[in-house]
Symmetry: C2
Amino acid sequence: MKYPITLDALEVLDAIAKKGSFAAAANDLYRVPSAISYTIQKLEQDMDVVLFRKEGRKSVLTEAGKVLLEQGRAILDATQRLAIATKTTHNGWEPVFNIAIDSILSFDFIYPLIAQFYEVQPDIEINIYEEVLGGTLDAIISGRADLVIGAGDGLAVGHDINYHKIGQIEWLFAVAPDHELTKAPLPLAQTLIEQQRFVVARDSSRTRAPLSRRVFSKRPVLSVPSLAAKIQAQCAGLGVGFLPAHQIQDQLGRGLLIALPVAESLPIDTLNMAWKASNKGKVLGWFIEQLDKHVFNSAAT
Amino acid sequence: MKYPITLDALEVLDAIAKKGSFAAAANDLYRVPSAISYTIQKLEQDMDVVLFRKEGRKSVLTEAGKVLLEQGRAILDATQRLAIATKTTHNGWEPVFNIAIDSILSFDFIYPLIAQFYEVQPDIEINIYEEVLGGTLDAIISGRADLVIGAGDGLAVGHDINYHKIGQIEWLFAVAPDHELTKAPLPLAQTLIEQQRFVVARDSSRTRAPLSRRVFSKRPVLSVPSLAAKIQAQCAGLGVGFLPAHQIQDQLGRGLLIALPVAESLPIDTLNMAWKASNKGKVLGWFIEQLDKHVFNSAAT
DNA sequence: CCGATTAGATCAGAATATTTGAACAATACT
DNA sequence: AGTATTGTTCAAATATTCTGATCTAATCGG
């Protein structure tokens, strides 16, 4: 069964609609007007429909012609994307790449990397997701992420997951400048800290219970949607808590937050990336290589 | 810019995949094998990708070939649907037709009509929705329905809506066979009725307040999601209420419900269809004509 | 009102694309 | 070893698409 519609004919139809006339479309497509006329007449004959009617010396689309044009454009777009997807697959690149990033990190570091990647390979669809700590393993195993970046230890025993340390996170106990703790003897005693209202960040994109890190407080906590909101709440003096050092350099510099030493020394969290060992994709390989080089939370900066 | 992909090439690729070889695909497409070979080689050259590799004397798809095949099939399907949609538009038929039916009716009556319509015109997408009484006018004005069928008077003053009576609904006051009202003097007095628990049906597909018809009860009502649920609840003796006669013939015949006369005579509701006066669609015209002929709730049945 | 310009159609001939038929090499089967 | 099948090559045939010339009809500007 021969298809009455050809992509070339849809392209001609599109050009006529965009340029407003057969003659202009011909010019646009480097053809002569009679070639355009031939193509449209052949399409009308093959489809057994009328696509244009005469208005004076101009041809205008019929309702059927409009249906063909609109949905034809969608098919042309899909075909162009298909050509690209086929070519990127041919070249060994995955056509789609998903990255999940721990909500405790900002996304800022990944954008320059993606910009670099798009210089190398512009035709890949990259999707970025925000994950909480506990979700990173799920994201890899379930296949919804090709690569995850987040804090915490690798716990993927028996799951054929590769972990690689790419940095570390320093936690600071931070309070507003007018908080009473700024007048207390340093380092802050555990018993004093326990009496404070902690601000905790929950993951707003997940319907799970709020994930609280190092909640020492014996007072009701203040729960906020995100890390950014937590920082704002602590700047406002609404509570206290630990914050990743790299996220509050600006606030510390401007005196909006004060980092106070605590008696108990906090371990520094490692920052890992993880991926399925069986995944040999070139996009994944590129990102792994680049993240390995990337310097996170440098003390010198 | 010439498109490297042609629909014919996608059809060839599809045939090769389905039939398992170039030779079988050639046979299927009424061509010679060298025509298939030519088409694939031209496609590979135009796209600058490798689609097949040799395994012995057989050719098998590469990963790129698989991507092209799968998404190419979707494009072929879309193109076939587009040809049909264009043709139906050319023939004056609307490509999509939406009918909203009052939830007080069952849908049974519309299915034979749709079956008849599909004998006349199989290529139209028909969508059926359930609406409550108050929603029918909205559905027409907003354009989400081309035709609505439901009970009640036409209230569309100033809205350029055509109403047409197509039948009527007889309401019966029905109770379970072991309900105490079956022992009361007939016709049932108003004061006696008022003391009963009524079952009312709300529209589960809408987030509006329950729509109650003829709620006489001074007791808390039992609200259920649908008319079907209302019938079931009344059969179970959970309450009383009015039910459209045509919907409970079976239950009456089997003694699952008893229809009791009430002192106050109830008006019979008219059943209307409504549509926008400016809508001249052929599908709409066909349904209006057929519904006009259709006999609803005939006393003889 | 008239000449110039533009839009699209017609058609013979040219150019390009696709197909066929014959022959071949390589692989698989009996 | 002989036969069958798969896919390729290639000259020739066929089909499709395009060009260039010419035409009709409609619109525009002086």
